[in-house]
């Protein structure tokens, strides 16, 4: 029996794990998928947005710087066209022109110089003592004399300071001459230096040889990074901007934005750490991950909770079903035995009645005088009495069998349980005294009324009390009766400290015809009848017993239904 039970038992931990896994998979998969898609889309559009923003920034500054250079060149060209070589060769005139320019455009122009075709500076106005310097060997002079106008790269020159110059060539009496203006490096540097975004975004200018034309805010290694690649690129549009993301020499991922200046001679480079440029995105990413992790945790814990509850419920339902199966078997067993018993009882009743009456008839006849003198008269009378006694015993047995099948008085009525129990204790008191048993009662006062069959309930408790007294008949002892409300039930306890019931017998005591009493002392039906009665009332009967300690029967009787209780409350 135990084996079949084991095979029926579900593997609850596996069931539990499977539920958890399914719930987690079903909940987390869509969450991760949706979050992943959203993050991917967000990442893309955010990158696009940042790129577009930086491209615009760089383009604006490129136009700004180009505009600046064109404007300065324009100023000098106007000077060359307006005045002749002769006029400008006069240093005081040249100084006036410088002052005029500085007055008009601020201290952008540092100095002016006029140089003839041999590279000799014929006039100079400015803060440095460059006087009649000879530039015939200077690199910039060769370029300047060949071109109509030149904007040089930044160089140190004679003065030993970084600067760049704007030169315009013109002719006077068949000879080329050059007017040269130095642009204030600081003012120009500021044009680029002011480009600052975030914590790490900065800009600088470098020429085609990779030499820096402005002072970058942070260290830049021109031979590393994508700068030279930018140089090699041939742009279709002059306003094109190139954007690249890659790791720099220090291992940091940077975003590089570059645009050509000065007709492709210079490169305006903006660079920023990717982590800085996309800091908002990183923050959003962190929040998203936090939400995903929290969501995952919530789902996992919910899955755990739900599965635990589900597993618990399934386990309980299985247990209940198993109990119900057992009960059905038990009830079926009792019912079939009951029917059989009732049939036998009916069939036996009549022959027994006839036997008893025939014995009575013989007794009647024995009273006639013929027999009075018979030497065996006493023995006849004893035998007849015995027939009647045994016939009565048969009748008792059939009565009990019939009680088992059909209850004596099953009318439902209101029962004061405590009063009824007191009555039963009083009835049993005499017998208890003979057996040297003391009966103690511990009844909860104000028990609600029960709606059951009084005579059936009496039968149950009388049976239990009698059993207890039987158990303690030889030794004496204590019988404890108790009643109390527990939830929707009244629980009555009948406890003795008799010899107890052996474990092997404990599961069989409610079986019909099972008895441990001597032959002729018990029918083995008492507890079966109790069991049937209590089950019919919707209650339960339970036994706990320890050998040599005692036995306690607990009878749980359901209270009257809520509706009726409310009515009682309403009327009181």
């Amino acid at each position: 029996m135990d084996k079949s039970k084991e095979t029926k038992t579900t593997d609850y931990p596996a069931f539990f794990r499977k539920r958890i896994f399914i719930i987690i998979a079903v909940s987390i998969t869509p969450m991760i998928l949706v979050s992943g898609i959203i993050l991917y889309q967000f990442n893309r559009s955010y990158h696009e947005k940042v790129h577009a923003h930086l491209a615009e920034l760089v383009l604006k500054h490129k136009q700004n710087i180009d505009g600046f250079l064109v404007e300065k060149l324009g100023n000098i060209r106007v000077l060359a066209k307006t005045f002749s070589f002769e006029e400008l060769s006069d240093e005081s005139f040249l100084r006036d022109r410088l002052e005029m320019l500085q007055r008009g455009y601020g201290p952008v122009f540092v100095d002016l110089g006029v140089i003839n075709s041999q590279g000799l500076q014929v006039a100079y106005a400015g803060p440095f003592k460059l006087g009649k310097a000879l530039y015939s060997t200077a690199g910039w002079f060769e370029t300047a004399i060949k071109n109509e106008y030149v904007i040089s790269d930044v160089f140190l020159g004679l003065r030993g300071l970084p600067h760049f110059i704007v030169t315009v060539r013109d002719n006077w009496k068949g000879e080329s001459w050059i007017i040269r203006a130095t642009i204030d490096f600081v003012a120009f540097n500021n044009l680029v230096g002011n480009i600052r975004v975030g914590e790490t975004g900065f800009a600088f200018i470098m020429n085609r040889e990779g030499e820096l034309q402005t002072k970058p805010l942070f260290d830049v290694m021109p031979d590393k990074g994508p700068y030279l690649e930018f140089m090699k690129t041939k742009l279709k549009e002059k306003d094109d901007v190139q954007i690249v993301e890659r790791k720099d020499a220090f291992g940091n991922k940077n975003i590089y934005v570059a645009a050509f200046l000065k007709g492709g001679d210079w490169l305006l480079v903006y660079q920023q750490r990717a982590s800085d440029a996309f800091s908002d995105f990183r923050r959003a990413l962190r929040v998203a991950f936090a939400i995903i992790i929290l969501g995952g945790l919530a789902i996992t814990s919910m899955a755990y909770l739900l599965s635990t509850r589900m597993a618990y419920r399934v386990a309980r339902m299985d247990k209940e079903r198993q109990m119900m199966d057992e009960q059905i078997v038990e009830t079926g067993k009792l019912a079939s035995v009951g029917e059989l018993a009732a049939g036998i009882a009916h069939e036996i009743n009549n022959p027994v009645a006839i036997m008893v009456e025939e014995a009575g008839w013989i007794e009647d006849l024995l009273e006639e005088e013929d027999f009075k003198e018979g030497k065996n008269l006493d023995e006849f009378e004893r035998a007849l009495k015995q027939i009647r006694t045994q016939g009565k015993r048969c009748k008792d047995i059939t009565y009990k069998l019939l009680s088992f099948a059909r209850k004596t008085d099953s009318r439902i009525q209101e029962v004061h349980l405590n009063d009824m129990l007191e009555e039963l204790v009083a009835i049993s008191a005499q017998r208890a005294r003979y057996s040297n048993v003391t009966i103690n009662t511990n009844f909860q006062s104000n028990l609600p009324l029960l709606e059951v069959s009084q005579s059936e309930l009496q039968q149950v408790f009388l049976n239990l009390i009698n059993n207890a007294l039987d158990a303690m008949e030889k030794t004496g002892g204590k019988l404890e009766m108790s009643s109390k409300v527990e939830g929707d039930y009244v629980v009555v306890g009948v406890a003795d400290n008799g010899p107890g019931i052996a474990k092997a017998n404990l599961s069989r005591i409610f079986d019909p015809f099972f008895t441990t009493k001597q032959v002729g002392k018990g029918t083995g039906l008492g507890l079966s009848i109790c069991y049937g009665i209590i089950k019919k009332m919707g209650g339960e009967i339970e036994v706990r017993s320890t050998v040599d300690v005692g036995t306690t029967f607990y009878v749980r009787i359901p209270l009257a239904k809520e509706k009726e209780k409310e009515e009682v409350v309403a009327t009181t």
């Binding site: 009645a353 009647d364 099948a405």
Partner: protein, 131 residues
């Protein structure tokens, strides 16, 4: 004849209806010794025929019989002789039928098998003039 015979005043005329022949026979024997003349009927039909032939002081009627239900027999008896008391014999656990019988005018009922003394006591009660 026994002493009881002489001691008895009027003999009671009783109609016993029960389909258990052995029981009817022994009862009639024993009752005869107790001043009761028993007319035996082994079915409801026989009982009705017997009542048609003569009057009885009292009837004892088994409720469970093969041909006609005891309650039906009781109703017919009550129509034929409303003054005749009827004592019913029922099987254990058939109180419902017994109560139905009381409602139909039966004097009382006894659970079968019953002690002869109880039955006779009930019979004397039924025929006592004070009733």
């Amino acid at each position: 004849m026994s002493k009881k015979d002489i001691a008895g005043t009027d003999r009671i005329k009783l109609l016993l209806v029960d389909d258990e022949a052995g029981y009817v026979n022994v009862l009639s024997n024993r009752m005869a010794k107790r001043n009761i003349d028993v007319t035996k009927s082994l079915s409801g039909t026989e009982g009705i025929q017997a009542l048609r032939k003569q009057d009885f002081d009292v009837a004892v009627l088994d409720l469970k019989m093969e041909d006609i239900n005891g309650i039906e027999v009781l109703k017919i008896f009550k129509k034929m002789d409303p003054d005749m008391p009827v004592i019913m014999l029922t099987g254990h656990g058939s109180e419902q039928a017994a109560k139905e019988g009381i409602e139909c005018g039966a004097f009382d009922y006894l659970m079968k098998p019953c002690e002869l003394e109880d039955l006779i006591k009930k019979i004397r009660e039924a025929v006592s003039p004070g009733r």
